[in-house]
Every structure is written in C-alpha cells, then in structure tokens.
Symmetry: C2
Subunit: 470 residues, 2 copies
Amino acid sequence: MEHLYLQVADRIQAMIEKEVIRIGDKLPSVRSLSKEQGISMSTVFQAYYHLESKGFIEPRPKSGYYVRFSPRRLPELPSATRPVKRATDVNVSEMITEVFSHHGPDLLRFSTASPSEPLLPSAKLAKSMIAALRENNGGLIYENLQGNLPLRRQIARMSIQWGGSITEHDVVTTTGCMDALTLCLSATTQPGDVIALESPAYSGTFQLAESLGLKVLEVPTNPICGPDLEYLDKAIPKFKIKACVFVTNFSNPIGSCMPDKNKRELVRLMNKYDIPLIEDDIYADLYFGKLRPSSCKQYDRNGNVLLCNSFSKSLAPGYRVGWTVPGKYKERVLRLKLNHTISSATLPQAAIGHFLENGRYEHHMRNLRKMLHTQCLRYQQAVADYFPEDTCVTRPQGGYVLWLELNENINTIELYEQALRRKISFAPGRIFTLQDRYTNCMRISYSNPWSKAVDDGLKTLGKLAHQLMK
Amino acid sequence: MEHLYLQVADRIQAMIEKEVIRIGDKLPSVRSLSKEQGISMSTVFQAYYHLESKGFIEPRPKSGYYVRFSPRRLPELPSATRPVKRATDVNVSEMITEVFSHHGPDLLRFSTASPSEPLLPSAKLAKSMIAALRENNGGLIYENLQGNLPLRRQIARMSIQWGGSITEHDVVTTTGCMDALTLCLSATTQPGDVIALESPAYSGTFQLAESLGLKVLEVPTNPICGPDLEYLDKAIPKFKIKACVFVTNFSNPIGSCMPDKNKRELVRLMNKYDIPLIEDDIYADLYFGKLRPSSCKQYDRNGNVLLCNSFSKSLAPGYRVGWTVPGKYKERVLRLKLNHTISSATLPQAAIGHFLENGRYEHHMRNLRKMLHTQCLRYQQAVADYFPEDTCVTRPQGGYVLWLELNENINTIELYEQALRRKISFAPGRIFTLQDRYTNCMRISYSNPWSKAVDDGLKTLGKLAHQLMK
C-alpha cells in the first residue's frame, strides 16, 4: 500500500497535468488541506515536499505553495555563450530602433523588458505626485544637482537590502538608468577605449557604447552564473579593457545571476587592474526567491564600482528617475550631469521619494514580484507547450525576460518579420550582440499579464517556429 | 514763453529726477493726464514724445509709457569683444561649478540667468500637472521617443511667432535645453572637432564642449548685433570649424540680438560651408519690445539649423522640458536620445502641453516680460547709481542679464570673493571665456524682483567695486 502522502501528491499531480490547477495557481494552505481532507498536517507537508522535489510546485516566502511547470516538459537551458574573442567596432544596426519603435495598441509586445501598465500602482503614485506638488511649491525650480535629498535618503536606506552601507551623499540621481550608464561610461572612458560587456547583452548598452565611440569586447556568459571571470582576467590586460558594464543580477537577456563568490571575485579583478565596474543593477529588486541578491557594490572598498539603477523596471518608466552610486568617480559624474542636463526634473524625484517614505514601495514590490513570478512560469510553460521540442529556454529567478535558443535552422529575424505581420513583436537574438551570433535566439518578455491574447500570441510564435524548422 | 508741452515734460522730468516717479513706473495714460491737467491730448503726446526722445521714458506695446533711467547717467555700452584668434583646448576651471553650486536661502543670487520663483505661475502649472496625471493614467509609461504629441503640436504652433513653419514631426523634446544642445552637438561633431561660440559665451556651453572633447573658437561679438560674420566667414575654413553654437537672441551674457539681415547672412554662411548652426534660442520669448525677434531657423531651407529651446527660462526650470528642431539631423538626434535616456519624462511634458493648450502660456508670458523689463530698468539704474562712473553696461532688449565692463583695474574674481563673504553672488566675466579675458567684467542677473535687499546688494557691489579701483 502506497503512503498516504503519495496518494495526496499523485492526486494533485494529476490535477496539474490536466490543468485543473494551472501554472502559477496557489495550492491550498497546509492547514486548510489538512482540514478538508481529514489528514494530518504533516502528511500534507510530505505531499507538498514530494511535489516540490519533482518540480511540480514551489514554495514562495510568506505566501504558500504554487504550481510550476511540469519537469518532464522542462526545456533544456541554453548553453554558455562563446562569442568571438576580439574587440569589435560598434556598428549597431537599424534593427534595434526597428524593434523598439514599433508601438500601437493592436501590437502584442513581447519585446520590452519593462513593466506593463497593469502591473504598476498608478493611483498611489499619483497621490505621491500631488503631495510632491504641494510640498515643493509646484516643483518649478531647479532641483539640487546631486538630486532630491529625501529620495537620496530613501535610496541609501534601501541599500540595506543588498548589503550596502551608503549614505545620501554617495547617491546621484539621474534621468533613468540609461542616463546613469551614460554618465558613468562618460566619466570613466575616452573615445576609442575598449569596454567589456556580457554576451548576449542589452542592445541599448551597445548603442550607448557606439554613441560614445567605444569598442566592445563580448565576454562569454553562462545563463546561470554570468560572465566567465577566468576569461575576463586574461582579457582585461590583453584587450586593454578600460571598464566593464555588467548586469550582475538577472542579466538582460540571458537571465544570469552572479553568485556571491563570483561577485566578490569580479570586484577583486577590478581592483587588481584598477578599472571600474559599471554595475547595471536594474533588475535586482525583481527577485523571485526569498531575498534580494547582493550587488558587487557591497564588496567595493576602493570606489571602483559605479552602481546604476532606476525605478523604471519597478515603478514608473515614464518618470525617468534613476540613480548611481559612482564611488570614486562621483565628482566627475556630477560635473557631467551639470554639463548635460543641469539637474534632473524636480517633481518625479520628489514624488518617488514620497512614495518610498510612506512605505508604499515595499508593498507594491511584494505584489509585483509575485505577479512576475507567476507570469514567468506561465510563459515558460507555454514555450514548452508550443515551441519545437528542441527549444532551450532560461529559467530566470527574477526580471522580465526569457531567452530562447531555438533549432539552429531557425532564423529569428525571419521569425520576427513573420510575427510582426501577425501583430506580434519580440526581440530577435541578433540585436544583443555585435557579432553574427544568436540568430537562432530570441528574447520574450513576460511583462504582459497572462491572458487569452498572450496565450494565442505565444501559440502563433510556436507555430511559426515549427514552420521555419522545415 | 515756452511751449505748453515742454512745461508738462519738464515737470515730469523733474519728478523723475527727484524719484517721485521711479524707474519702471507707469506714467498716466494720455487720456487721463489730458483730463486731469485740462490740456489737450496732443499736448500730452508731444510731452511724452519729447521725454522719450530725451530717453527718460519709453512706450511699451499695449501698455503705455514707462519711466526709464536718465540718459545723462546712462553708462556706456561695452565695446565689441576681441577674443584671441585661435582655437583653444577647452579646460574649464573649477570656477564655474564654484559659482553655480553656491545655494542657500541667505545668499542674494545675482548669478543665475533663470527665473526666480516669484515670477512663475506655480498654482496654474500645478493644475495642469494634475490634469496631466488624470489624462495620462498617472504618466507611468514611457513617453513616445520623439516626445509628447500634444506638446510638440503646441511648440509647432508657437513657431508662427518667429516665422517658422514647422509641424509636430519636426520637433524632438528633450530634458531641458542643455540636453538639446548635448544631443545636437553629439549628432553633428566628433571629438577633436572645432566649434565656434560667441565671446563671451555661456559657461555651460564651454563645459559641454569640454565633456564632448571639442575645441572652441571664440568669435568677436558685438553687444548689439552679435557675432562678427565677416570674421566668421574667414574663420570657418581657416580653423576647419565643424559647427557653430550661437545664442542669436539676447545672448548670454552679452545680450546681443542679431538683426534679421545678420541672421539671414549667418544661415547663408552655414549653407556655403555646409556646416550646422546649433541655434540656442532659449531667451527669445523674453523680449521687451513689440514682437518676438525671429530665429535663424526661419531662414533655413537646407536643414542646417538645429533650433534648441526649453521652458526653463519662461515657465519651470525644474520640469526639465526642452526641445529641438534638428533639421536634417533629426534621425541622428532621435537615435542619440534613445541611447542616452530612452525617452523624456512623461508628466512634465504632458503638463506643459496642457498649460499651452489652455492658453495659459501667452497670458503668463505677457506678465513675465513686463516684470522682467521693469526689473531690467531698475537694475540698470542701480548700476548707474552705485558703480564707478566709468562702468559700461549693456542695454538688453530681452532676457535675464546685464553685462558690466568695469574699470580695467578691477578684477571681478576678487570682487566675487569679497561679495560672497557678504552673502552676495554674481557671475565673474572670466567664466564666459576660455581665454584670459573679461577679468574686469561681470554678469548680473535681474531675475530677482526689485526689493530693499536687492537694492542694498547692488549698493554693496558698487561700493566694493569703488574700493577695488583704488
């Protein structure tokens, strides 16, 4: 006779397989299932542990157990990348602009790694904006060059979560994270310099490098633990790398999250060669696990790490409020900020400062993370269901995107063009490198809440991929 | 027996000299004075014409006659500038940051060429911000790359005033005018290129040039009609100038306003050498005369003029809303904007768009211009009263600043340091050039409404100048 907990587990597994309970659904609490079924709580616990070990369900902190996708259909992880080992002149194609300039209400966008409107606290942030208007006499006057003080204080306070110990004096606000990256790269490099990026890396960083006249070395990157540091250690002297720009947590598009020991090692390398790390930490707050992953900045004793972040992925892309903790480059960054924009807009900073001060951010982020995690699982499941069987897909532990590696006969630029005709967009892999690579890869954002339209859209993409294989 | 109109004029002149009627005061209307004094309206007219011809009073459109300063005490105009004729490596001193980083409520600031808070429509713009929140569902989402459409429409409509015939498709919004200049200079130059500026020119433009790795040629500039175009015609080929950045209307700090024929000639030169003119037109709406002066952009048929402007001098510096009409460089500017900031903040653009759509801008600007004109006259008078007799001062027809040329024994950096100890700041002439010039010059902003404190501050400056002469 089978153990009771196994009977319970099998029943739940069957319900999951028949999609009676669906990906992202919450399971009953241990207590309530125990009551309903007349079994002990420890039996329920055992059943849930069993299902968890089989990969069907997963616990979430302070919330309970949730259905995740079925492991037997779990696609493979993409392999670590092997970009060509030379620094490349940046010559980013029209394609990036093409991909990101398509708008329109009838377009189903899997292309943007930023929050969709339904995920955001529009009404509550509007209240903070109205408070900011009142408290700043309309916000008409130039804000302090370094940035709104209450906001900087809140940013400094939040650093506890990633192990930082910064004060408001260390923070410089910016017009979004791209502006932070622009200022930090301008402060640390000269035209003609070589910088290192992950491969694949965010297309915007390539474009920024191009506009600053920089060359880029793409570093092999593992979808789990990020850039290959042994490779980097050799590459820095060999290619005379002057700065690294890495997304250390939930990198875009590959989803890697550097383990703490890699972060520590990366900072050690920066100190060894005395070059700056521009740490783009924009996805770190969107973790699905128990705790926010740490940032390299935590290990920075010499001021070589320039941490960059913003509220664009978490709260309000349209507010254009970002910041940097630029370490020993602070004065240079401030000078450049003065030269390029004088100061950042007063009200958006003050409104977000107010939102944070009133504890609204924590509450919002808890919800956002839950929603994103659920969406991530549902999208992963749909990819497993609809795409060709040999499709590999990342299992990100945070952020907004899945990275798919399709059969090498599939050209995702072709797929993109066909999808666009059906009013669906995504980001083809080719735009995340300067080399002729990743042409069978694609990035899918799970930012849009799950819906019939999303399901149909992914089904269509899968069908098109099947057709292109032939 | 003297003419009746002369008796009337003499009486008014005496009242002005005794300061019964003060600088900036409005005179009675022709009709009311005619009634009160029992004289014909034509006599009053003759009296006013007479006083105008003597420089005591001046007419203002749709408003009447106002007292201006007395011509017998009118200081000389500064002479046309003669900067050294070579391109200079930009190496802008700490002084600029020093001058503009001094804040604090107890500092009397004559240093900033931007509106003081009392001049701005705080409550009405807050209403537009609240409307923008409502109409844009909180403004959380990225704005269109090119900029908020209603705002661009309003900007295009306003171009009628300067003879432009642009549409919303020609306009790109930016994070203030400095951002517009940054994008336009980045779009048209390479590091190492030489650009031409007025001399003296806005310190921020030198700093921007430095941060972009550009060299600067300073063009001799006349305080009335702007840059010397004959000189420029020779200098462009000689110094291989790649772009000009000129403030064509009410230039900062020298206050020149290029006549239409010079503007036309400047555009002709740009076409002759096929180089771009970046036209910083940020002060043009602050005219004291009947009409807004035209912009070079009006004469641009080839797309060589990149017009830059913002609402920072007229409405809300803290909103950081500017724009450019970049002619044939539009695609390049858009690409750079995408790379550096993705888009400009949603709500500030929408709020200003709403403010303009509802006709509030015109009304506000009429008041602002009147207030500034009055303040300009009062400050000019105070300079004439308090500063050494050989002080030359500009007579700007718009904008925020007076440019003073003091006795050549006076070093205005020394004056600045002494003034700062007395909690008064202004901008020493040296920061408006890369050369060792203008050390006996200073820029005084009349942005602060006239008050006892302002009067005392200018008196103190004058006293310090007298002391430094000895």
